[in-house]
């Protein structure tokens, strides 16, 4: 889920940088220097995990996992995702320099939102926790695609159709992310519950 360079307009790029700068600021402030290894190594894990391709029918999609990032890192999701995206740009040319702000915001803003919406329910022992975990994975991608669509649309109204296609193409991914988040959180709760905030 990223936008290539050269597509977005100046104001949208600027807005992306503004949001991301604030997010990184808050994230770094909340990070003690003790937590930097943990954040960095988890960022590495997300970078790697997002290379996994899972089958959907005849196609393959790669995972986004910003919901889980949010649950584990809270505001630190901003610096972690920014760093992971910079490395993706360096290694694979996904995104680039000018879109780093927008692309980070597209993934990290939903991550932080989902953290506030769902983290309180995740630790419960009831069915609600499972529902919340699924919703977290689903919503993080859903909100991300809405932001992505919005970034395109506000850059140029001619992008309306392109944006709609991009959003609808993500619907199966939202469902898969929901399930992956559900099972993954169940795993972490069993094995190392202290990781969830």
């Amino acid at each position: 889920m990223h936008i290539a360079e050269g597509v977005l307009s100046g104001p949208v790029l600027a807005a992306g940088f503004a949001v991301t700068a604030v997010g990184i600021g808050i994230g770094l402030k909340k990070l003690d220097s003790e937590q930097i290894p943990e954040t960095g190594i988890l960022a590495a894990a997300f970078f790697v995990a997002s290379l996994v391709h899972v089958p959907v029918g005849p196609a393959n999609v790669h995972l986004i996992l910003n919901g889980i990032v949010g649950l584990m890192l809270g505001w630190a999701a901003f610096p972690a995702i920014a760093v992971a995206l910079l490395l993706q740009a360096v290694f694979f040319q996904f995104g680039g320099l000018t879109t780093l702000g927008v692309n980070t915001a597209i993934m990290a803003l939903p991550a932080v939102t989902c953290y506030y919406l769902f983290a309180p329910f995740i630790k419960k022992k009831t069915k609600i926790a499972s529902v919340a975990a699924f919703a977290c994975g689903f919503m993080a991608v859903f909100l991300g695609t809405i932001l992505l669509g919005g970034a395109l649309y506000f850059s140029d109204e001619n992008f309306f159709e392109v944006a709609s296609v991009a959003v609808s193409a993500h619907i199966p991914i939202m469902i898969i992310e929901g399930f992956i988040t559900l099972f993954c959180i169940a795993f972490i709760k069993k094995v190392r519950p202290e990781m969830l905030g």
Binding site: L8, S33, A45, P55, A80, V83, L86, Q93, N158, F187
Partner: protein, 257 residues
């Protein structure tokens, strides 16, 4: 496998200080991102290609990176020319080719390719360690730079772990498919990856304490700007200025010819 493809090389670009390359990339990318006219975009593409040649990148490998943006460009070309407004250039039953949409698609293609090549030539030719030092010298928060270094260091280790876990699933006859069993397996595998990452992080933090780490990150490398760095920045500045003037239509085809 993740690889740093272009960082090892000997070329005039590789010889520049990482800070110079980063500054040049930022300046050029910004200018190109804000341009819409044909002449400046064409100029930008030419500058970008020139940089790719100067960096002596493997042209095949560099060309393959275009695949990354191919999907998006295809989508644009399939949709924009038929939906964008403006004069109708061509019509066949319900299909209408619009001038404005066509222009936009062309413009985006030029821009995206130019920016991709600029990034390849200037940023991907640095090792991530060098990039981190460049960002450090550009006064980014030290915490962020340290985060970048650590993320980078452990990506390879974690990728190895992931590959091993995938292999472990394979030798137990796991076949990926569209099923809950498959998603559950992947989720557990990733969960294991995250848990191990977190455990490792604790040990790494302890190891850093053992080496008297106190939260401050001292960078070892220092890059001194040499004359060639200033020359290069001057050239890039001139190129950027040309693009800006072109965009403002202070330079047009008629002034050139």
């Amino acid at each position: 496998m993740i690889q740093e493809n272009f960082s090892e090389g000997k070329s005039p670009i590789h010889n520049l200080a990482p800070r110079t390359r980063t500054l040049a990339a930022i300046m050029l990318s910004l200018v190109v991102a804000l341009s819409h006219q044909f002449i400046p975009l064409l100029a930008a593409l030419i500058i970008a290609l020139f940089l790719v040649f100067t960096a002596r990148l493997n042209l095949f490998a560099a060309g393959r990176r275009l695949l990354v943006i191919a999907g998006f460009l295809l989508l644009i070309w399939l949709i924009l020319p038929f939906t964008g407004g403006g004069k109708i250039l061509w019509q066949y039953s319900f299909l209408r080719l619009h001038e404005a949409g066509l222009n936009l698609a062309l413009q985006l293609t030029l821009k995206t390719c130019a920016m991709l090549f600029i990034f390849l030539a200037l940023i991907s030719t640095m090792s991530t360690g060098d990039l981190a030092h460049a960002l450090h010298s550009l006064k980014l928060p030290p915490k962020l730079v340290l985060l970048l270094l650590i993320t980078y260091r452990y990506i390879f280790l974690i990728e190895d772990e992931l590959q091993s876990l995938l292999k472990a699933a394979k030798i137990r006859n796991f076949k990926p498919g569209t099923s809950l069993h498959c998603y559950k397996t992947y989720a557990n595998l990733l969960g294991m990856l995250f848990v191990r990452a977190a455990e490792r992080a604790q040990r790494v933090h302890k190891a850093m304490l053992c080496r008297a780490f106190d939260g401050h990150f001292h960078s070892l490398k220092e890059y001194h700007n040499r004359p060639r760095d200033y020359c290069f920045l001057g050239l890039i500045f001139a190129g950027s200025a040309f693009i800006v003037l072109g965009e403002m239509q202070l330079i047009t085809l008629s002034t050139i010819f």
